[in-house]
């Protein structure tokens, strides 16, 4: 059952001539973990905004084609209704803090307050969300006293608590240090394991290869490839277009050219795959 259905989606930002997205077809099944890769300017963020309803409701411009989430088309909906179905987390942890709340607990409750959830329900839902993302020890801290990785997990939790059907993450770890990255990926992975539908734009392909169900490669606003992680990430189609390619993949590719990589083997993306391959 496709919970997200994009058909021939084309979008051009106001005051620009070239479409940022061009005839994109994309279906996402409930519970799937989809990763999106692509060079800067390929339309990844535009796609995220489209899934999250900010295109066309926040950014004007021309949107053609149909964008459906849970069988509701975006043009017949409003942003307010849409954000209840699709949650968005993006790169900069600091900018996602509302600034209106004194503690992490209240910060997470903010979304529920806005949606008019009765007070008796807010408390248990926030507590549940805190445990789900493993930040219950941060509940009484001020959001501004936290590290980047912690703030990003708070942002995630603040969106999750609203129980969206689809979670869209636009490069959630790109501004974080290695520790923060590990923390955030840990949370995302556990969410995916619980069956939450996740769409994540990410450059760190080794991680994507381990945990994503499917990878879509965007290039110049169009879908270049759509398939299983290892297939897409090791494809020759990605070479020379500015895609981030795993060092294991590119090294093995060069090794194959020198006869150092077993001929019939698929190229590796992760460390383990590389070890297995090179051992032969």
């Amino acid at each position: 059952m496709a919970i997200v259905n994009l058909k021939q989606v084309t979008y051009t930002y106001p005051l620009t001539d070239t479409p940022a997205l061009s005839k994109v077809d994309l279906q996402i099944k409930e519970g799937e973990f989809l990763a999106i890769i692509g060079p800067n300017g390929s339309g990844k963020s535009t796609l995220c905004y489209t899934l999250a309803g900010f295109i066309p409701h926040f950014f004007k411009g021309e949107l053609e084609g149909s964008v459906e989430v849970a069988e509701v088309e975006t043009k017949s909906s409003t942003l307010n209704e849409w954000v209840m179905n699709v949650g968005l987390v993006f790169q900069n942890p600091f900018n996602q803090i509302s600034g209106a709340k004194y503690s992490v607990f209240e910060e997470i409750a903010f979304g529920l307050e806005n949606l008019g959830v009765p007070r008796e329900e807010i408390n248990p839902r926030v507590e549940q969300a805190l445990i789900m993302t493993g930040i219950d020890d941060l509940a009484e801290r001020s959001p501004y006293s936290l590290s980047g990785g912690q703030q990003q997990r708070v942002a995630l939790t603040s969106i999750l608590v609203m129980q969206p059907k689809v979670l869209v993450l636009d490069e959630p770890t790109s501004q974080l240090d290695p520790i923060g990255t590990r923390e955030v990926f840990g949370v995302i992975r556990s969410l995916a394991e619980r069956g939450i539908t996740v769409v994540m734009v990410e450059h760190k392909v080794e991680w994507v290869a381990q945990f994503a169900d499917r990878v879509v490669a965007l290039y110049e606003g169009q879908v270049l490839m759509d398939g299983k992680p290892r297939e897409v990430l090791t494809s020759d189609q990605l070479v020379g277009k500015g895609f981030g390619i795993s060092r294991y993949t590119s090294t093995a590719r060069e090794a194959a050219r020198r006869g150092l990589w077993p001929k019939k083997s698929e190229l590796p993306v992760t460390l383990d795959e590389a070890i297995t391959g090179f051992k032969k």
Partner: protein, 259 residues
């Protein structure tokens, strides 16, 4: 990162437990009284007999007195001197120096003015120290203030510490490109554009992201908002607000009758 976004100090006090709108009304009320009352010594009375005891009630007396001495007093003293020297009124000259002269009337007027401003800043300081912005926003939104308005206020309050830390980085970056920030007044003025430019442009990029983040949390939803923390509006609050409004009306009448 700045831990405190606002001047709010979390304490357990009588003032803190008042409804935010009540405290705001109190601040405005005391200000109006200080400005409109015909009695010359009203501002001093307000500060000494009302504000300081209230600050004790609010358990923030130390912070208030600190702010009053370090910030408010110098600022209003400066105002007083400037007004006394450069806005002369009346004829009774009591001091003359070169082309500057001070009259008894202008001294008196400047002192009254400075005192009123002192009282005004003090009453709002009291308000800021005992009211968390989010509580105020929640209360006002519940009473019907449109959320966009609330957002402008929230983001303005946020912007200050943010801009401060940004400004530090910008200054460091431009100095590292050879910009001299010390020296003659001309140099310092020339240094302003490379400092203010990025502050403004850079902030615009962020404002859009913040707006998106807050939308994603349903901020502009048309549903009636609920609140996690109970913001009480007791009978005492309502009575106090009515008394304050009445008090201001009385002062206005007195003023009209006095003139």
């Amino acid at each position: 990162m700045h831990e405190r976004l606002s001047f709010y100090l979390k304490r357990d006090s009588l003032l803190h437990s008042l409804n935010p709108l009540t405290k705001l009304t109190l601040a405005f009320g005391l200000t109006f009284v200080a400005f409109l009352s015909p009695w010359y010594w009203t501002p001093q009375f307000v500060v000494l007999i009302i504000i300081i005891p209230l600050s004790i009630l609010g358990r923030i007396q130390r912070e208030y007195i600190f702010t009053a001495l370090r910030l408010i007093l110098p600022a209003t003293a400066f105002l007083f001197v400037m007004q006394a020297l450069f806005q002369p009124i009346g004829k009774t000259i009591i001091f003359q120096f070169w082309f500057l002269h001070i009259t008894r009337e202008s001294l008196s007027f400047a002192f009254a003015n400075a005192s009123r401003i002192f009282a005004m800043i003090s009453s709002f300081t009291l308000f800021l120290l005992t009211t968390h912005p989010s509580e105020l926003m929640s209360d006002l939104t519940r009473r019907g203030l449109p959320s966009q308005f609330a957002y402008v206020i929230i983001s303005t309050i946020q912007i200050i510490p943010q801009m401060q830390s940004k400004a530090q980085t910008i200054i460091a970056a431009q100095r590292s490109r050879g910009l001299e920030t010390e020296g003659s007044i001309f140099k310092r003025i020339g240094a302003l554009v490379p400092l203010v430019g990025p502050l403004v442009f850079g902030s615009l990029v962020e404002v859009e992201e913040r707006a998106i983040a807050i939308e994603a949390r349903g901020f502009t939803s048309t549903r009636k908002k609920t609140s996690l923390r109970e913001i009480r509006d007791t009978g005492f609050d309502k009575t106090l607000r009515s008394i304050l409004v009445l008090m201001v009306l009385v002062i206005i009448v007195l003023k009209i009758r006095a003139s």
